[in-house]
């Protein structure tokens, strides 16, 4: 390959990296800074109507009767509809995947018919001219309920005394058993066996922008345009098409600005499907925006797990085996189309992931309950797997009286052992655990911190240091969803078009929700083509204009979408040089494109501005050879195939101080060393890490969706459900090891999961390290002051 074709940092090549590796500010951030964004609720439409849902106040109840008379005649009301009426326009779905063997779930309707299965499930829809009128009318619906037994405890669900969906036979949605063999023998040979049970609080994403959808059905065309706060426009296009009976190409899904997503907005929500159906029924635009109380009751929750884990170790510190038993509850339905079996499955796949033991047994039960549904939220399963692994590893190190950093060093998979197959079956291309550990310990000055910790204990100041090594799933191949039958694209595409003025328009199927996707794509496009960054415009989030693709989730935007842009950029460059060679009458191989100019590849002499080439190609093609046709729009696609996932790795450290009188934890500092492959924009990568860490800290210290035994959510508002605010958060130090993946030429692996994956485990270990002089420890998240005082024996 010639130099002009390699402006990027590809493995094994020495090249000019262009904009790759530069912290350029996001071009699309300016409108958000001036309040000129376009979130769904900011859009204004003629004849727009507003839907409000009447929701079940019970966790499990039969709908004996719904009386709409008063609601229907309320001011401004356009219509009031039951689940049965809506079901005539929107077919139900069943969320299972072929490769999760045995997974089961009942059909779910857009609006419940006959029975509500969680508090907050929509059972009727009211459409009115304003939202306030719809809310007024919803309050006039009279419902007659017959309460049914609510199954809210996951162990009771597993026992199955009460079965939520009788037709399924039991409450088990999905079960998995994984066994390498030899686990019992390994435990028999161990010098020490350590066991612990960890609890994880059900929590949720709390996107600041509630779920939002504006569906605009055009009866004349039988077409539907949906403005949707979503991460996956093409997936939603397919789903609207199939469940509403509208041809796929007549459904256009547009995701303009999205006010936070974190996995929350990649699922099919029944009230959103109902909104689309209502637009068809009423033949006019209908908008639904979840308010904050609805968001807590109906945005997917995640991570309610109770896990027993055992580890077998030798005196030398060598880990022989892990043995895992995970129980998780997912609410009454598996969530469409990704299913609610994935999170637990990931826990089995990832537990023990950084270490070189060969024996592993994992048991998983995923059960139904009468609480809100759970599904994939940022770092799916990782926070559980990392906390379990790192918690029990610290406990084993303590049992052997070994420093936790040293214990990890002895067990982390060596950096030269790759490619490597982990006992759970997942394959790693190339990780860098030891490099990351070394860099972390250096950054935090670990040894000095340990000395300081000892000194402070003498003054009754209890500080703790917690480490958490991690692996993270990124850039998923079709093995994640596609092989199971889900119509979720694992490939993504990019179209690059040279405009006559020398600007380049990039259309890409990955989406932007604030991560900086569009900035990163612009950097790659500018570098690949050879134009300056300000010449690039990026368009994402519109099925009507971009190539087909999966959208942004599972840290796939940069790695997959970015590679498609790179390939398209190189192809466009080749076509540009082809035209330049015709205009200049020189060999193509002698030319390059640098900083918006066609140049001589060897001398760098400027031959022609790109703008002039655009003028000739578009407006004076008559001056080009007779049989020559310029092609200045190119499209390329990319699918990761070789590995199921492009795993990344990293390690975090938390430094906390525990007030042993109040149980309060003060976060003093946090470190995150991450290997996300090629770093395209270091600032954006660091900010992904920091934001992710904040969400992980929320899980560790504050966040839990609390339910009563009857299945009533007790803290479904922002005053009672605590999230990290600026006052609680520490400064977070980020550092990087760069091991580009060789699967792509770009080499980017992805970084969205890392912070959230590791932070809960690191904070847990730090708290337990602080509590170690008292022989106390906490194992159930969130670690509230009450739980810490209980562990210290200071609270009943």
């Amino acid at each position: 390959m010639g130099k002009a074709e390699l402006p990027l940092h590809a493995p094994g090549t020495k090249t000019d990296r262009g904009y790759i590796g530069q912290s350029v500010p996001r071009p699309n951030a300016a409108r958000l800074l001036q309040g000129r964004g376009a979130f769904v609720d900011d859009l204004r439409f003629p004849r727009l109507s507003h839907v409000v849902f009447f929701r079940s106040p019970y966790a499990h109840a039969r709908i004996k009767q719904l009386e709409f008379k008063k609601a229907r005649i309320a001011k401004g009301v356009i219509g009031v509809f039951s689940g049965r009426e809506i079901s005539e326009f929107c077919t139900p779905w069943v969320a299972v995947l072929g490769h999760l063997k045995g997974i089961k779930s009942p059909p779910q309707y857009a609006v419940a018919i006959d029975r509500a299965c969680w508090q907050g499930e929509a059972v009727a829809a009211v459409v009115a001219e304003t939202r306030a009128q719809a809310e007024d009318a919803a309050a006039l619906i009279e419902a007659d309920w017959e309460e049914l037994p609510a199954v809210t405890d996951m162990e009771a669900s597993l026992q199955g005394t009460e079965v939520i969906h009788k037709e399924l036979g039991d409450n088990i949605c999905f079960a998995r058993r994984h066994d390498t063999g030899g686990v019992d023998e390994a435990f028999a040979q161990a010098d020490a066996v350590v066991e612990e049970t960890y609890g994880f609080g059900r929590h949720t994403g709390v996107c600041l922008e509630g779920r939002s959808i504006l569906a605009d059905y055009n009866a004349a065309e039988h077409s539907l345009t949906v403005y949707h706060s979503t991460q996956a426009p093409h997936m939603m296009q397919d789903i609207f098409s199939r469940h509403l009976g509208i041809p796929e190409a007549s459904v256009r899904v547009i995701a303009k600005d999205v006010g936070g997503s974190y996995g929350i907005k990649v699922h099919v929500y029944p009230d959103e499907m109902a909104t689309a159906a209502l637009s068809v029924m009423l033949r006019r635009p209908v908008k639904f925006v979840a308010d904050r109380l609805e968001s807590f009751l109906t945005d997917i929750h995640a991570r309610e797990h109770k896990v027993r884990i055992r580890i077998a170790v030798k005196k030398s510190g060598e880990i022989l085996a892990f043995d895992l038993d995970d129980l998780t509850a997912i609410g009454p339905y598996s969530v469409y189309p990704r299913t609610s079996g994935i999170e637990g499955n990931q826990v089995v796949n990832l537990t023990g992931g950084p270490y070189k033991h060969q024996k592993y047994r994992g048991k998983l039960n995923v059960v139904f309950t009468n609480k809100n549904v759970t599904c994939q939220y940022r770092a799916v399963g990782h926070p559980i797997a990392v906390a379990l692994t790192e918690g029990i590893v610290d406990k084993a190190a303590a049992a052997l009286k070994m420093d936790p950093a040293e214990f990890r060093r002895r067990n982390l998979i060596p950096d030269d052992a790759y490619p490597y197959t982990f006992p759970s079956g997942v394959k790693f291309e190339q990780l860098s655990h030891h490099k990351c550990l070394d860099l972390l310990l250096e950054k935090m000055n670990y040894r000095k911190m340990r000395e300081e910790q000892i000194q402070l204990r003498k003054k009754n100041i209890y500080r703790g240091i917690g480490l958490a090594a991690m692996i993270e799933v990124t850039n998923p191949s079709p093995a994640f969803y596609g092989v199971g039958g889900a119509r979720i694209s694992a490939q993504d595409g990019a179209t690059l078009r040279l405009e006559p003025t020398g600007m380049v328009t990039v259309l890409c199927s990955v989406t932007e929700q604030g991560q900086g996707t569009e900035a990163v794509l612009a950097q790659i496009a500018a570098s690949a083509v050879g134009v300056s960054l300000e010449k690039i415009r990026v368009i994402t989030g519109d099925t009507g204009v971009t190539p087909y693709g999966g959208g942004t989730w599972a840290s796939r935007g940069a790695g997959i979408g970015g590679e498609a842009v790179l390939q398209a950029g190189r192809a466009l460059l080749s076509n540009i040089l082809e035209i330049a060679s015709r205009i200049l009458s020189v060999e193509k191989e002698t030319l390059a494109l640098e900083s918006d100019f066609i140049v001589n590849k060897l001398t760098r002499e400027r031959k022609m501005p790109l703008e002039e080439l655009g003028r000739v190609a578009y407006f004076r093609p008559d001056t080009l050879p007779m049989n020559f046709q310029s092609e200045l729009t190119v499209t390329r696609h990319y699918t990761p195939r070789e590995y199921g996932f492009t795993f990344t790795n990293g390690i975090q450290a938390s430094y906390v101080e525990v007030d042993t009188d109040t149980g309060f934890v003060k976060l003093l500092k946090h470190w995150c060393v991450e290997d996300s492959g090629t770093v395209i924009n270091p600032m954006l990568v660091d900010e992904q890490l920091r934001g992710g860490v904040a969400q992980g800290i929320g899980a560790a210290l504050f966040e839990e969706c609390l339910y009563s035994p009857e299945g009533q959510m007790l803290n479904g508002n922002m005053a009672d459900y605590l999230v990290p605010m600026a006052g609680e958060m520490p400064d977070i130090v980020c550092a990087h090891i760069e091991t580009p993946t060789r699967q792509s030429q770009l080499g980017a692996k992805g970084v969205g999961e890392a912070g959230t994956a590791g932070a809960p485990g690191a904070v847990m270990n730090a708290i337990n390290d602080a509590l170690s002089p008292f022989q106390a420890s906490v194992t159930t998240m969130p670690f509230t002051p009450e739980r810490i005082l209980k562990a210290l024996g200071k609270c009943p």
Binding site: A30, C207, V258, M683, E687, M725
Partner: protein, 155 residues
């Protein structure tokens, strides 16, 4: 319209008169009646700060104040404070440090930050964190926001 009230107020320097429902929140009035959609609705119970606007020079939660309460008042939103360039330094610092991701909290965050800048000279990082601790951001982890505000307060 039941319980309708005539109000006249100055929004971003322009006098506007409307008949509004007594129950309408100020932020809904700004968004729905005036099309000023830069102020966002995040929680509607006064916790998240996304709807922060300035009334008579003081920052308030647009979801905890009724439009009728703003009758006769001077109201400023992110759109107006952008056009007057009052927020320009903060916006530049936020942009350069990527102190926003999804941008939904940003208008409210900028107004809270500007309030601190107007009322305090050289606040510590701790004071900055305290001042914006009523503004929820799920994306950033706050550090870049604190950095950006600190940069502006250091001139």
């Amino acid at each position: 319209m039941e319980h309708a009230v005539d109000i006249t107020l100055t929004v971003n320097g322009t006098t506007v008169s409307r008949r509004v429902e007594a129950r309408q929140h100020l932020v809904d009035f700004l968004r729905d009646e005036l099309g000023l959609t830069g102020s966002h609705v995040g929680c509607e119970h006064g916790v998240c700060g996304a709807c922060t606007v300035r009334v008579e020079g003081a920052i308030v939660r647009g979801c905890l104040m009724l439009a009728v309460q703003a009758n006769g008042c001077r109201v400023e939103t992110v759109e107006g404070l952008s056009d007057t360039r009052e927020l320009a330094r903060l916006q530049k610092a936020f942009h350069e440090r990527n102190a926003l991701q999804c941008g939904f909290c940003t208008p409210g965050m900028l107004l809270a930050a500007q309030d601190l800048i107007l009322s305090s000279t050289k606040p510590s990082r701790e004071e900055i964190r305290q001042h914006i601790s009523g503004n929820y951001c799920r994306c950033t982890g706050y550090q870049a926001i604190v950095d950006a505000i600190e940069e502006v307060t250091r001139g």
